[in-house]
Assembly symmetry: C2
Homo-oligomer: 228 residues x 2
DNA sequence: CCGCGAATTTAATCCGGAGTCAAGACAGTC
DNA sequence: GACTGTCTTGACTCCGGATTAAATTCGCGG
């Protein structure tokens, strides 16, 4: 009666065992994303993973443990990816451009790499207390990342002066987090969505006339450009 | 053994009966908003409404009927209120100002009058098919309202030319619909949130071009008006 | 091709929540 | 003070879904 073992020599294995485990996690993520925490049946997960329900207990001690695994790793995936992208950026990149990159990173992970991450986002508020508690740290971390991004814009004078920094952050995250709700991969490539989202959010934050139009506008009406 | 009667003469009554019924609906809305469809127990609703569980069946034939009542009236509340506000507006108001008003109307109803409306929004995707079916008409209606608002902006040249009209609509609704998720009435008045939201969204849509320059910008990039 | 543990199934149990029902209690009304 | 509408009390059924137990198959090293 064994807890499943890690592969012999290697650690990130391709075991049959670990592949089954992965299938279960993926199935759970998909269903959590669609039906929510309370709406996801263990038997559905099993079916989608092509196993019988009790097999889940070979890998996870309980339904909640499985759910926890899904949302925690989903959360970690987002954070790691966004942090990773940001850390690759040159130090002298203007803050607003960092926001642009963060938007893309967030959307790409949530819309493309899928399920785990959006399951984490969408269910956060409806999870049982113990699981929710384990999410708060990551939530704070991620919040802080965005706070930092927005504050940097403000300090660089690139943020529209009449925006509350805290609220602005919430709106950005709102627009991002709502995306999985309506996004349909059949209706167009992720990249298009990302493009438009970036423009939308940058417009919202900067309020200024964007670089590529500034000259034209300035020529037309050289007065009144300063951000009031 | 009576189905509850409407009040004698008056229709929007203050009956004891109708007040109890209202308490039940309010309780259900609150819990649906917090725990989602599948996470809301009948007994919890009853407790919150200060009634015994079987009493619910005096007013509603089933749990789902109650839920349906909540989300449908929540949806109707939003639509009616926003439509009402828009119809009061002078005809010659610029489209972008109509958006501003619609944003305020939507937020006010969702954040203040609350629960019902946000329950409708948040649970939409997780409801059982029969209920969801009854929501689609309203969803289309509401979608169309916003489509109309945004398209009008585009046609008036007040929309940032590089925004896809359809996607822009989704972002606006995203920012609005995510608000109940983080809004905390103790942290500040609704009006502040509304103010900032209006600015944020108007910046996003118009690209922050001030009124006196909008013509110039529209002339510069008259393309990209298609309403996909 | 045997044996043994890992992986998974089949069958059984357990529990909570929806929904029912019958018998009252209590309030306001005529 | 009888009547009706509004609930409470306290069962009790029923079912689906989580969990457990026992039995079975798979797959590999010997």
């Amino acid at each position: 009666m064994g807890r499943p073992r890690a592969a012999r020599g290697s650690s990130g294995a391709e075991n049959k065992s670990s592949r089954t485990r992965a299938r279960i996690l993926v199935a759970a993520a998909q269903l959590l994303d669609r039906h929510g925490y309370a709406g996801t049946r263990l038997t559905e997960i099993a079916e989608l993973a092509s196993v019988q329900a009790p097999a889940l207990y070979y890998y996870f001690p309980s339904r909640d443990a499985l759910v926890e695994q899904v949302v925690l790793s989903g959360q970690a995936t987002i954070i790691d990816h966004v942090v990773g992208v940001l850390s690759e950026l040159p130090d002298d990149l203007p803050p607003i451009e960092r926001v642009r990159e963060a938007v893309a990173a967030h959307l790409r992970i949530v819309l493309e790499t899928s399920d785990f991450s959006s399951a984490a986002l969408r269910n956060a508020s409806q999870l049982p207390e113990p699981i929710r508690a384990k999410l708060v740290e990551g939530q704070r971390t991620y919040s802080d990342i965005w706070r930092g991004l927005v504050v940097a814009c403000a300090e660089a004078g690139q943020l529209a002066p009449d925006l509350d920094v805290g609220l602005a952050r919430m709106f950005v995250l709102g627009a991002l987090n709502w995306a999985p709700q309506w996004f349909d991969p059949d209706r167009g490539p992720v990249d298009d969505v990302i493009d438009t989202t970036q423009r939308f959010i940058l417009h919202a934050l900067t309020r200024g006339v964007p670089d590529d139009l500034r000259d034209a506008v300035a020529a037309q009406a050289p007065a009144g450009l300063e951000a009031r």
